[in-house]
């Protein structure tokens, strides 16, 4: 089970109160995670990665295990602690004013 923590605005949009838990088949990658997340919560499509290119939006970051995974490839495996559900995968709005 993968634990995903969304930023507050996306939790509101998806109407989830806390972590989202996902069961993924096969290799656990960012692509697989977001495919599953957007499938369950279609309103999140386009808010974290581009509809067409699937590239991460510029002001969205992905953290886990105290590492910045934002620049990892979409098909790179996620850390084992994330795969085992010991650590959450964090979707973060980049820190800035506004």
């Amino acid at each position: 089970m993968i634990r995903v923590v969304l930023p507050a605005h996306l939790r509101t949009l998806a109407r989830v109160a806390s972590e989202v838990n996902l069961d993924l088949d096969g290799e656990v990658t960012q692509r697989a995670l977001f495919d599953a997340l957007e499938s369950r919560y279609p309103m999140l499509r386009g808010t974290m990665r581009d509809h067409v290119t699937k590239q991460r939006r510029a002001y969205v970051r992905f953290f886990a295990c105290e590492r910045d995974l934002s620049h990892d490839g979409p098909d790179a495996p996620l850390p084992e602690l994330v795969v085992r559900g010991r650590e959450p995968f964090l979707v973060v709005g980049a820190m800035s004013g506004g």
């Binding site: 930023p7 605005h9 996306l10 949009l13 309103m43 499509r45 386009g46 808010t47 974290m48 509809h51 067409v52 939006r57 002001y59 969205v60 709005g93 980049a94 506004g98």
Partner: protein
């Protein structure tokens, strides 16, 4: 008794202001979508409980919200605005070619005869349409693929399609305006377009009377007289009496002819309103006095409307989509400011009062007149 519902989009959420026909005592609901930029909300004239809202942020992009109960509850609908066909390039600020990139929806224009049909004007400039209440969108690509499009440039706020007007007497005829490309008209429900900028003169472009390149800020029309169009351009207030074929300046005695919104009285097709702003770099009222100007002659002759508006130390702006009128017997006029005030005049502009004073910066104001 009739009532009004004012839909206010701000930099940090949407607000819904409601009052009975006296427009004296108001309830304020919101913020809806707190923390998000709400560029525009607009209700369907066919089903006034149907409201579309453009919700966006630099972080999370575009979301489209739809309400079917007058704004009490909302449902996210489709947010895929994919350009149709070859994307092409327009001209960037520095003059180099720049690929079209979707940024946000600036304006929704619900159909006059079908609550499920709605047009969306977006940045980078293009027109989209939904036939299923926002559950899917398709681009009417003839506009973006106009032969002049590779020469269009963004205004300071982005290259936005901000004005969409459907001719109430001929629904095949649609007017749009783009900053900074100009005004365009379609006679075939958006399939093909041609520029309608003859008579506009803009000193800020190399060829002042060019076919395209004008920074049109807003166009307004009275539904009874759809061949008469009023335009607030970057500088100059303009008027067309032939559906945009030609324009003439009607700035007349305005203290400055720079501004953003322009609107038409609900019952008097030649009574129009603007909010003069000092200049293109000084986006505040001249002399620190917030004045709406009214012309009862369709331009040229203007009178300042000041009663109830701040007449000293006022340095707010009123953006292009932030003025609206209701259609009660005594026409109400509304506008919102970048300082977060929303003002109402329940008597065609003679007297004003703030409905609210301290909202986030106001991006848009629309009014629904309810039975």
């Amino acid at each position: 008794m009739s009532s009004v519902r004012v839909l206010v989009g701000t930099r940090k959420g949407a607000f819904i202001l409601e009052a009975d026909g006296k427009r004296h005592d108001w309830t304020v609901n919101g913020p809806h979508f707190g923390g998000w930029e709400i560029y525009h909300l607009k209700g369907s004239p066919v089903d006034q409980n149907r409201i579309y809202a453009s919700q966006s942020s630099s972080w999370f992009g575009q979301v489209v919200q739809r309400s079917d109960d007058g704004g009490k509850t909302w449902e996210p609908v489709d947010n895929r605005f994919i350009y149709n066909g070859a994307t092409g390039t327009h001209r960037w600020y520095d003059g180099t070619p720049h690929p079209w990139e979707f940024a946000r929806v600036w304006h929704f224009e619900p159909s006059l005869d079908d609550a499920d049909v709605v047009y969306a004007g977006v940045e980078d400039a293009a027109l989209f349409r939904s036939d299923d209440g926002g559950r899917s969108w398709r681009e009417l690509a003839g506009l973006r693929q106009h032969r002049s499009a590779d020469s269009w440039q963004p205004g300071a706020g982005g290259m936005c399609l901000h004005t969409i007007i459907v001719d109430p007497k001929n629904h095949n005829r649609i007017f749009t305006a783009i900053s900074a490309a100009g005004a365009f008209r379609s006679e075939d429900t958006g399939a093909t377009w041609r520029p309608i900028n003859h008579g506009l003169r803009s000193e800020g472009i190399p060829q002042a009377e060019a076919e395209v390149g004008h920074c049109v800020h807003r166009i307004a029309m009275h539904p009874r007289d759809p061949n008469v169009l009023f335009m607030q351009k970057h500088w100059d207030v303009m008027r067309s009496d032939d559906g945009g074929e030609s324009w003439r300046e009607v700035s007349g005695n305005l203290p400055t002819d720079f501004g953003f919104p322009i609107d038409v009285h609900a019952h008097e097709p030649h009574t129009i309103y603007v909010v003069p702003i000092k200049s293109d770099s000084e986006h505040y009222p001249p002399e620190g006095k917030l004045r709406v100007y009214r012309s009862r002659t369709g331009g040229d002759e203007w009178e300042p409307l000041t009663d109830g508006l701040p007449q000293r130390d006022c340095y707010v702006n009123v953006l292009r989509d932030a003025m609206a009128v209701d259609s009660l017997d005594e026409c109400g006029v509304y506008f919102g400011t970048t300082g977060g005030q929303v003002y109402v005049s329940p008597d065609s502009g003679d007297h004003w009062r703030p409905i609210v004073r301290d909202l986030p910066s106001v991006l848009s104001v629309e009014v629904q007149t309810l039975p």
